[in-house]
Each structure stands twice: as C-alpha cells, then as structure tokens.
Symmetry: D4
Subunit: 164 residues, 8 copies
C-alpha cells in the first residue's frame, strides 16, 4: 500500500498531529511523520515533496499554523494530493492558519480539513488510498459503523440518565 506522509511545520504541532498518526495506525495505513518547515527548511520540504511519489507515498498531510504555507509549498513540488491541517496557534484562533491553507489559487489545490482536525486528515488520506484498496475501504466502513454504534450507545446512556 502507498504510504501517507505527515509533515508538520514545527515539533510543537506534535500533540495535534499524533491523533492523525494513531488514526492511520488504527486503519492499518503505513505512515511516516517529519518536521520540515516551509520557511526554515525549504529545501528539505521541497525535496521531500519532489521525491514523495517515487518513495512510495500516495498522500501528504501538511500540519502548520499561523501563516501556514507548508501545504502550498509541498503542493508546488508534486501532484500527489496534499491534505492541509490548519493548526490553532496563540492568536487569531486558527483563522489565519485556515485561510492560509484553504484559499489556494487556481491550479494547486490543498484539501483542507478543520482547524486541529487531525483525525479527519488521517481519515481523508485513507479514503483517498481506499479508492484502489478494497480492504482499506472495508476498514473505513467498519470504522464508520463503529462510530454510528457509539453514538447510538451514548443516546441509550442518555435515556437511562434522564430517566434516573
């Protein structure tokens, strides 16, 4: 199976990014994670993107905050799908990260998920890979069914609580 790369702009993003790593593991999708900054290590970021396909990656998740250029920088060097994960930072409540990630000019998309939405970045990557992997597609369906069941169980628990 093609691998998923998770590139974060700073190791301070790791507490959020770890949720993506764990979700990919739960879906049995191989992944690698790196700290590459669009601004401090532009060559490393560009090189990673340029060689990602030949190195067996299918999707790249880019996690960055503030003026979050990392997704766009990676997208500039590959036509693999890039998933943008805007990280909430200490000011502007994540709006800067979101707009910097999603408002890409025509020609070079970044598939953006919610601010701090690390689990959804992982699921979206898996959905892309599942287009040609029926077993993974089944695991996604199972995960969804489990989510549905979990909500219904919470509803049952609520009924008991309210009647108590």
């Amino acid at each position: 199976m093609k691998k998923v790369a998770i590139i974060m702009g700073s190791d301070s993003d790791l507490p959020v990014v770890e949720k993506a790593i764990n979700k990919l593991k739960a879906l049995q999708v191989p992944c690698e994670a790196h700290v590459f900054s669009a601004h401090r290590t532009p060559n490393a970021a560009a090189d990673f993107a340029k060689t990602a396909k030949e190195n067996g990656f299918g999707v790249i998740i880019s996690a960055a905050g503030k003026a979050a250029h990392l997704g766009g920088v990676l997208a500039a060097y590959t036509t693999l799908p890039i998933i943008g994960l805007p990280i909430k930072s200490s000011t502007m409540d994540g709006l800067d990260s979101l707009l910097s990630t999603v408002q890409m000019p025509s020609g070079v998309p970044v598939a953006t998920v919610a601010i701090d939405g690390a689990e959804n970045a992982a699921i979206l990557a898996a959905q892309m890979l599942a287009l040609s992997d029926d077993a993974l597609a089944q695991r996604l369906s199972d995960m969804r069914a489990a989510m549905t069941a979990a909500v219904l169980e919470k509803d049952e628990a609520l009924q008991k609580k309210l009647q108590a």
Copy 2:
C-alpha cells in the same frame, strides 16, 4: 476509470461549477453533475451518496453556499472522499460557506478547497483518482508543467512591456 460526481445545492451555482466540469473534461476524467439540495431534496442527496460507489463514482464534489450542509450530508452516507467547494453568496463574502464546509467534526471529513475554487476541486478529484491511474497522473504532471510555462511566458511578456 472511476467517475467524479459534482453535486450542487442549487442550479444558481452552475456558473462556478462549470469550471470544474471543464477542468475534469480537460483531464479526461469522466464526470456527472447533479442539482441535489441537502435541505430540499435530502432523500435524493442521501440516495446518491449511498449508491455512489456501486454506481462507479470514486470522488464526489459538493458545491454549496451559505449554511453549506451538502458536503457533510453526502459524507454522512458514504466513505468515498467528498470534496467541499464553498460558494460565495450575497452576504458574508463566503465565510459562512467556508466554515460550514470545512469545520467538520471528527470522523467525517470534507476535503475543502477555496471559496469558488471550482478548478481546484476538479484537480483535487483527479489527483485522488490518479493514485491508481498512471496515465491520469501523467496528465496532471503535464497540466502542471503547462501552468509553469504559462507563468514564465507571462514573466517574459512583462519584461518586454516594462522595457518598452
């Protein structure tokens, strides 16, 4: 090849959506377009999503404005990747469409592109399908190379203009 579906919440979205249709045609990706509203035709939208995979679709683009629930509604009924295309409407400059589309809760992602970013929605869909289609991947690379060349030509034209 798997098809791309483009679902728009209103036929007033067609002028924006047509750019996605044309881009998919240029990339030789088969697509279908439909007008299904999350609120006015919820059953049609749900049925489309439930049967999309078996009907040969690989990716669904959802175009909607204001409180743009269509992407989320489609995503609720399938684990195919959903691309959310927020449409700018007459108030709030598209911020409502963007936030309604991108801020999905954990478990059910919508891959969001820029407000009115129809071409990028199409390219992103093609990038996903290209994960298992080398010929399409090549067409994406060629399209990117053409874009690069076009910018460089514009730079040359600018140099001539400035020296004139």
Copy 3:
C-alpha cells in the same frame, strides 16, 4: 401538550443542553433529549425528524457545534419548527457554529438563538407551543415577571452596596 425534542450532535454538548432541559421542566413542557449526529447517525436523525410530528413532538431543538449541520438535516425531513442552538467549540469562538446554523437557504428555516443560548432555545420552544396553550402562555408571562422582579431586586441591592 405537544413535546419538545432536544437533539444534540454529541454528548459533549450535554452541559450546555441541560440548561434547556431544566428550563423546559420549569415551564412544565414535556421534553425528550437524544444524541443523534447529522454525520455519524444520519439515518437516526432523519428518522427522528420524519416521525417527530406523529410521535407527538411540536418543536425540535438542535444543538451542535463547528460545522453544525444538525439543524438543517432535521429541518430537511419535517416542517415542524426547528430551533438551532449553536454550541461554542474549541476554535473560532462559536462563529462557525452560528453561521452554519443560521445562514439557511430559502425554504428551510432554522430558528437560531445565541451561541450556547440553551435557556433561550427552551423559552422559544415554549413560546411556540404557548400559541395554542393559554396556561403555558401564562407561565411564560409569570417567568418574565419574575425575571423583571429579579433585576429590580439586584438594582436595589446595588443601591445598598453603593451607599454602604
């Protein structure tokens, strides 16, 4: 009397929603509360809305955060009035929840109250039911009079405090 349903998208919304439950109890309006997610349990949400009228419900309060589609999804399957209660989540200070709830397209309204405004959601539901229930209308008037008296008492207490 017709019942009020309170549907919350996640059980994490319960601390806010409980204020609505308590206010409805104080107004002697029968209510039920459920955890149904627009995205994780779309069928349960749709089924609830479709059968709400025949099951004796008159008004549905929908509590959800982030890309809050729950109100719109419920409204799509019934013509009972839907009250949207936007829940503040960890990013965007509730603006995403508010816009996702209130900016509904023409034809399918969601009656939106303030972010985290659970008590007002309950009072609004009661006001709707009181249109055909004079006793409830009287209880609403009494509650308003008590609120007025409470403010005037606070003003008196302030006068004493300032003169001390």
Copy 4:
C-alpha cells in the same frame, strides 16, 4: 387564524421584507406590516408589542439592520415568539445586523433567520402557527413537496443541458 406582524425598522427594508409578505400570502397566513423604529418610535414599537397578543397576532417578524435592536425591543414587551430578520446594510456585510439580533441574553429569545432571509422568516412564522392549524401544516408540507419537485426538475434540465 392568528395573524403575523412584520415590523421593519425603516421603509428602506421593504424590498427585502416584501418577500416575507408574499410568502405569507402564498401560505394564506394573514399578516400586517408596519414601519416602527426601535430608536425613532420606541413608544409605537413598545405599544405594538404590548398589545399584539390581544390584537390577534401570534408571531412578530422584526426586520432591522446595523445595530438591529428592534427584535429585542419587541421581545421585551411580549412573550409571543419574535422572529429576527437581520437586514444587510452598506457596511459590515450584515454581520452587525446578525450579531445584534441573534446574541440575545438569557430569558428573552429572538428566533433569528439568515441575513436577508425574508422568505424563511415567513415560513418559520407559518410553522409556528401550524402547530395548532392542520390545514396550514398541510400547506407547508405541500410547499415543501413543490420545492423538492422543483429541484428535481432542475436536475433533469441540467442532465439535458449537459448531454446536449
């Protein structure tokens, strides 16, 4: 049947408000419209609200822009449900009108619809009255079914257009 009142803060709001009047007529809901300003004619606004119930009104729609206090002022003098219709003005794209209308403090709700969402204000008023009027409830269901059919017809038209 109880009547719906539409109070607008300025006669410049009439082009938006007229859509609400027309929708109520289409639903055969009797309505009256007035120009009363919360700030320029506070007594007229207060008097209207105080006597609305005894004068046969069941619901009041309040249309106002900028610092839109009208909904709150009317709500302060009655426990009838007040529907707030924020009007987009020449600055701030309607955000001021929306927040001034929807963010009501606990105890005095205003049921807010989308910015310039006049049709939805009318439909919401009808939904409230329909709680005790089965014929009106049926007309709302019929209107919804017609909306559904209209979207499906537009989808058919789109299919023909795309295949042409």
Copy 5:
C-alpha cells in the same frame, strides 16, 4: 454639577463597571449606578431615560454585552448623550457587544468606547460635562498630566532596568 448615570444590563457587569465609578469619583463627578435590563426591565430603562434630564443627569453610560441593546434603548427616550460601554462576554470576544452598540442608525447616536473600556467611558462623560465646568476641565487636564508623568517614570524605570 449634572450627574452621570451608569446603567448596566446585568449585575455581572459590575466588576468592569466599578472602574468607571471609581474614575468618576476620582474626578469628583457625582454619579449613580443602576442595574436595568433593556429586555427584562424595559419600562424601568425607558422611565429612567425619559426622566434623566429632569432628575439632574447630564450623561448616561450604558454597559451591556452580547446583543447589547441597552445603549440604543436609553438613547431612544432622551436626547442626552449616551455613552456605550460594550462588555466582553463568554463568546465572540466582545465583537457582538461592540457592533450592537456602535452601529446605530442615523438619528440616534451612541458614543461608543472600547470593549470593557470602563475608565474611558467615565473620562468621556467628564469631558462632556467639563464643556461648561472649568474646574472639572482643569481636573481632566491634571489627570492627563499625571498620566503623562507616569509613563515617563516608567520609561526611566525601564532605562535603569535595562542598564542593570
């Protein structure tokens, strides 16, 4: 001297409002403070405004949060200058309070100060009264001179700290 009235919409605003009371005391401007809600005690608020002038008040400070209608409601019943003090509440970071207060329609101004800017509300009130009170004008000038001196002292302290 004419008195300043400080009306707050809720006694929860008192911690902010107290700074205005203290500043007025420091400037030897007589003031009264009241808790009157635009929505819960509309008659008390209106009556206060109607009789403020004859009761010896020259300026009214209105402190309120969220959909802050209090300033507008007071302004509707008097032509005395109204100072609007937007209070930051638990959501929206005070933007709702600010826009609800400042964006008044033509004809009925509210002189708005910064969010939670209680001291400035007091100083502004004193500046208005000082237009016909030279002693108060002098106290304002003295207060300004003291502020200037305090900043220059802080600069001196900083120089010592940096050289240490």
Copy 6:
C-alpha cells in the same frame, strides 16, 4: 456657542463628512471643517488640537479610514471630547477603521459612532454642547420629534400601499 470642528484625514472623506456639516447647520451649531492628516500633517493636527479650546471649539469630530489614527492623535493633545467617525474604505468593509478608532487604551477616549455615521457624529456633538445650551437641547428634541413623526408617516404610507 462653542464651535464644532470636523477634521478629516483626507479630502476623499468629504462626501461622507458633508452630511455632518449639513446636520450641524440644521441644528444651528457653528462648525469648521479641515483636512489634516495624522500621518502627513502631524504638526497641523497636533497644533489644531492643542489650541482648539482657546480657539472656541467645544467638540472635535475626527473622520478617518483604514488605520484611522486621527481621532487618537487629536485626543492626545486635548481633553476636549473627540468624536471618532470611522470611514469605510476600499478593503475590510470599515472594520479596520472602526477598530482603529474605538479600541483606545485607557485614559484617552474617542467617542465612536457607526462606520460612515456622519449624521450621528454631528448629533452627538450637538448633544454634548446642549448640556449647557437649553435652546440647542430644544432643537435636538424637536429634531427627534420630527424623526418620530416621519417614521409614523412612512408607516401610514405603507398601510395605504399594502391596502391598495
């Protein structure tokens, strides 16, 4: 009577500012208008503020857009009340002008009116001067009464229109 000064940061603000001039004339309040920029003519702005009181001015209206520093700059050199009139410019819909004007730090208030709210700036200035001018206070009351009558006439006209 003390005069009102209207300082605008650019002569491009004149179309908005003229409404303030006309309203002051209608209220028989003497006024002067000047173009002084906080950034291009800081000395002229500072000198005007420093000598405003001795030159017979009671109130200064400051009209400026974008990073609107003019109000603060004038306020720094006088303790006369400064009214800030935020002007909407070509970007940001006036939000930059509003926040730059209203969010003054403690000690130096600027009494802010709505974006482009020139008439209210004039009325507010008159209200301040009327604190010690009963004839002007009467003209303000008359103007308010005329506004009230105008709204009621518009309501009557609407009734005729709707019944026609």
Copy 7:
C-alpha cells in the same frame, strides 16, 4: 544603488503593482518586476530569492493574494528584507491575503504593508535602502514634505469651498 525586485504571483496583480513601480521610479530607485508564482513556478521563485543578493538586489517586494505564500517562500531562501504586499482578491476582502502574509512564524519575517498598499511597499523599500544612501533619504524627506504641502493645500481649497 541596490535594486528593488517586485515579484507578483500573477500578472493579474499588475494594476496594483504598477503603483509601486511608478513610486520607485519617482524616487529614482532602480527596480525590476517579475511574475513568479510560489505554487506554479516554485523553482523560479526560489532561484530568484537565492541569487537576489548577488544579483544586486537589496529588497524584494512580494505581491500576492488569497493564500499568499509568495512572501514566505521568497523569505525562506534569502535573508534580504522581504516586503509583503497583500492583494485583495474576489472573496474575503483581502483578509486571507493579509493574514497569509503577515502572520509569519518566528525566524522568517515578512514586512507587511496594507492590503493593496503598493505605494507604501515602494516607499518602505526606499526607506530601507536610504539607510545607507543619504541622497535617497533626502528624496524621501522631500516627498514627505510635498505630501504635507498637498494636504495643506487641500485644506485651503476646502476653506474656500465652504465659505463660497
């Protein structure tokens, strides 16, 4: 003298950028302008930045809209000062361009000017170069004096107009 480079992300930015070119010409600062996209021609942009210093450039102005990554991309490859000029595009009123440009992470600054503030970008570049060029510093002082005079002339013209 060191040259100023103006890099724009798209030739559609030229109408705004031309004001910077003209202002630099007026200040006799040599400049070159190029169309290089951060996303479509990342190598050209990177190469330009890497060699800018040795090619005689002292300052780079980066003009870009939407998710404006160009300034950050150029800054990543040089320690020359980068001036970010956010361009207003068709949605979000320039807020996306501004935040994408200004909110740079620690270590790699972009000196940001106002949205569409092309003249200021040019003046700022000249101010930087004038640190070691007294003649240019004098031309900047002269330009400022001319601006001051122009405002004072406009004030005189206004006085004549108002007295007419």
Copy 8:
C-alpha cells in the same frame, strides 16, 4: 552601526518586547528601548521620532496593542523605516492591533510583523541594517543556518521517538 530603537506603548508590553531585545543582542545590533505612549506622551513620542536619525538610530520598532497608533505616530515624524509589532490584548485576539498597525494610508508605511511577533521585528530590523553591513548579513545567514539545523535535528529526534 546604526542603532535600533524599540518603543513600546505601555510597560505591560515588556514581556513580549523582551524577545526582540534579546534577539537584537544575539545579532550584536545595538538597541535602546523606551516606554512612550502615542496618546499619553505624544510629545515624547514625536520628539523621539524627529531626532531619531540624528541620534544614530536606523530603524524603530513600535510595539502597541488595541487601537495601536504608535507606529503611525512615529512614522509621521520621520522617514526612517518603522516596524510595527502588534500586541495581543485582552479582547479581539489581536485583530484590532494588527489592523490598526498595518492598514496605513498611502505615503506613510509601517512594516508590520505578526501579532506578538517580537523576534521577527528584531530580525527584520537587522535585515534592514545588514543592507550596508556585511558582517551583520553574515550573522543573519548564520542564524538562519542554525535555525535550519535545529529543525532537522528535531526531525531526527522525531524519527527516533516514532521508531521507539
């Protein structure tokens, strides 16, 4: 070498500003810091700016929050480059500070860095001075190389952590 001045509007800004002082020290750039308020000590601020050049300063960093006029006030009295450092205050999450600083009118630029971006303000100042100081330019290059190395080390550490 020319010195850098750091002017802060309040000594409460010192915890943020200290990062700029430390960064300038690390780059061996001489600097002075002062507390001068645009509104409380306008003369001190103006005098500092007027004489900054002759006193050996090359660049001025202006740190201020809320309605942050300090950068513009300093810029009005000098043609030295002014760097604006918007400080996040207790409301509005720094948006007011940012817009008040960056949206300067044409003719008088303020080079704005990120909200609370004190280190970048210092680096930007050094970059300007390095235009005519090769040794400083080298120190900036070295600092950048160290930053790059630090990120790559963090990536290596992450690889070890993930493999453990």
